[in-house]
């Protein structure tokens, strides 16, 4: 009897609520507000790019025809193409390297109790927190230390060709670009992979172990497929960061045109000599290519994973 009364009360309350406060309206309002935030931010970014485009257009219309011609030639020069190619190549290589390290590292940080894990975790974050300029300077400091050791400075020992070779391989060379991009990209990937492995179901790995997998097989066949979304998100972040990175690349690898200049460093040089219009055109080109690649990548992944892919 008591339960019936409670039920009846509930029913009438529900009815009242439906009459007074329709439940659909507030949800729609909430949806509208949250979507508005997303659109506003995307709009701000679009506004930035549009401002650049506006500046370029104004320049093209106002400047002397010869000057426009000069700029145009500069932009279409083989050097630009080479810088663009180097940017894309180094960012891609860096991303692959970052993933290679982040897969085991992220897994370890997610699954195992490691002594001093907090310290390890914080150091990974430190790579992201460090100002990019300081990162480049630190790299240079570290490598000049290496060189002094290589030359046997202050000691009677003979020069060390291995250390010297190490120095020559990176500093002011193309591999140096990758090393400069490497730290933050890898740290971002480790973050993403750790979150992805945290979200993966451990039991699936356990089942794989009982079904015949060795530990690595269980990781590869059972856990990694659950972490694919996180892995792709990490890769996108790492690549985007690497492809636009300027300060540490400029300091550690240099900005030698035709050798170690990438598009972001070239852009900086153009700005520093007052060629704002060239810098902006290069930026627009860069942004367009990067965005097309990212969109293409996302579509490809969504196709392969069918419904439910979230990047």
């Amino acid at each position: 009897m008591a339960t019936e009364k409670v039920l009846a009360d509930n029913l009438s309350m529900q009815k009242q609520r439906n009459d007074v406060l329709p439940t659909r309206r507030p949800r729609q309002v909430f949806r509208g507000i949250s979507v508005a935030f997303a659109l506003t931010f995307a709009g701000l970014v679009a506004l930035l790019l549009l401002a650049d485009v506006g500046y370029i257009t104004e320049f093209a219309l106002r400047a002397a025809p010869e000057r426009v011609q000069d700029v145009w030639q500069d932009i279409l020069s083989p050097g630009t193409r080479q810088e663009l190619a180097l940017s894309l190549a180094t960012a891609t290589f860096t991303t692959l390297l970052a993933l290679l390290i982040a897969l085991p590292a992220g897994y370890a940080l997610s699954r195992y109790r490691i002594p001093g894990k907090v310290v390890v975790d914080t150091l990974v974050d430190a790579a992201i927190v460090l100002p990019p300029l300081i990162l480049g300077v630190s790299l240079l400091v570290l490598f000049s230390l290496l060189r002094r050791m290589a030359e046997g400075a202050g000691t009677a020992s003979a020069p060390n060709p291995v250390l010297q070779g190490f120095y020559d391989f990176f500093v002011y060379r193309k591999p140096g670009i990758i090393l400069a991009q490497f730290f933050v990209s890898t740290a971002l990937c480790i973050r993403a992979m750790r979150a992805a492995f945290d979200a993966a179901d451990r039991r699936v790995e356990d089942v794989a172990l009982t079904l015949g997998c060795a530990p690595f097989g269980a990781f590869w066949r059972a856990t990694l497929p659950q972490a694919v979304s996180g892995m792709l998100a990490g890769a996108v972040m790492a690549w985007s960061y690497a492809v636009g990175l300027f300060a540490p690349v400029a300091i550690f690898a240099g900005t030698v045109r035709g050798r170690t200049a990438v598009l972001p460093t070239r852009t900086f040089l153009e700005v520093s000599v007052g060629h704002l219009e060239i810098a902006l055109v290069l930026t627009i080109v860069m942004a367009t290519i990067a965005m097309s690649l990212l969109i293409g990548f996302k579509i490809l992944v969504q196709r392969r994973r069918g419904r439910g892919a979230v990047i």
Partner: protein, 358 residues
């Protein structure tokens, strides 16, 4: 056959100490409340946790130090842990593929396993669209595809709704019989155990409190924890006052002297099931002589569908279950004065003093 001898496993302050023998082709249910160590025990058996000491044998082989994949076990975890990125067929074929069986053998294993569980029609489906019961069957088929010698089920039906649970339990029992598969089933649910178990054990705080057939656990709990777990609900402390006539002894409880069969000394704990407590309005026909009786007030009567649960308050609180028909006939309503009685042969005696109340 599973033999677990003197297994010790501890994590934090929790310590698991278990010995257990499960016969060939036996369906064994390990029951216990949350945190009792039943899952840890099962994971030690599966090789997913490493015991500090003790020995685990499966079919006569010592597997204590071996990897899970070499133990010949089929494992179905609580949430099934299916491979979400694979189809049903690929899920079932996972084990055989990893073991590099030849293609036709894999195919045969998949169709046999799926046939056994009646899920052939689901083979090309993806996991996200399946119901709980279907997922359960897929997980079971996946475990059976590698032809294990031992099946380990962790709360296999607790995520299912009641009617599916019954069907799946029947199914588990049928498959287990058909394959004559030694099975360890871990559960916190009593009904589940009734429908599948050959034998069962109650585990508490990392120790096994009692092992036996369900009837033994149900009628003769060894201590008050098992009694409580088996839902005796009525637990009363008494004191023996000496031996009685012809293999009986006398117990003093609530000022009454009961003559109970058997032998005991000192303080004892009397437990009896709610379905053995009869309730009648005060002033009705007098109750049987050899019985524990109590004057009480009927505080609450809750319709539980299969029975009515009566909560009684007198010099102590008792619980009685009555069939709906009997309840209607008795004319009992909440608030009336009643007399509750339990026949002495329905009272089970546990030596020593246990915790009072349900």
């Amino acid at each position: 056959m599973i033999r677990i001898s003197d297994l010790v496993y501890s994590v934090g302050t929790f310590r698991l100490e278990v010995s257990l023998d499960i016969g060939d082709g036996e369906y064994f249910v390990l029951m216990g409340p949350t945190g009792s160590g039943k899952t840890a025990a099962m994971e030690c058996l599966a090789g997913l946790r490493h015991p500090h000491s003790g020995c685990i044998e499966i079919s006569g082989r010592d597997v204590t130090g071996t990897e899970p994949r070499h133990r010949s076990i089929g494992y179905v975890p609580q949430d099934y842990a299916l491979f979400m990125h694979r189809t049903v067929r690929q899920n079932i074929a996972f084990g055989p593929e990893v073991r590099r069986w030849p293609a036709e053998k894999i195919e045969r294993a998949v169709s046999e396993s799926a046939g056994l569980l009646g899920i052939e029609h689901l083979l090309d489906r993806r996991i996200p669209g399946l119901s709980g019961g279907e997922r359960q069957r897929v997980a079971l088929a996946r475990a059976l595809a590698v032809k294990p010698e031992v099946l380990i089920l962790d709360e296999p039906v607790s995520a299912l709704d009641e009617s599916t649970r019954e069907t799946v339990c029947r199914e588990l029992r049928r498959v287990q019989r058909q394959l004559n598969l030694t099975t360890l089933h871990v559960s916190h649910n009593l009904e589940e155990a009734f429908s599948v178990a050959d034998r069962a054990a109650v585990i508490h705080d990392g120790r096994i409190e009692q092992v036996g057939r369900m009837e033994d656990l149900l009628r003769k709990p060894r201590n008050d924890f098992v009694a409580r777990f088996m839902r005796f609900e009525n637990i009363v402390q008494g004191n023996t006052v000496g031996p009685g006539l012809g293999g009986t002894f006398l117990v003093q409880v609530d000022g009454q002297t009961l003559t109970l069969a058997g032998k005991a000394e000192g303080p004892v704990t009397l437990v009896f099931r709610p379905e053995n407590v009869s309730v009648a309005r005060t002033g009705g026909s007098s109750e049987a002589k050899s019985a524990y009786t109590m004057a009480a007030r009927l505080v609450r009567a809750v319709d539980r569908g299969a029975y009515v649960r009566l909560e009684l308050a007198g010099s102590r609180s008792l619980v009685s279950h009555m069939s709906l028909a009997a309840f209607r006939q008795s004319g009992l309503v909440e608030g009336v004065d009643v007399r509750a009685s339990v026949r002495c042969e329905d009272i089970h005696v546990i030596p020593g003093r246990g915790k009072d109340g349900p």
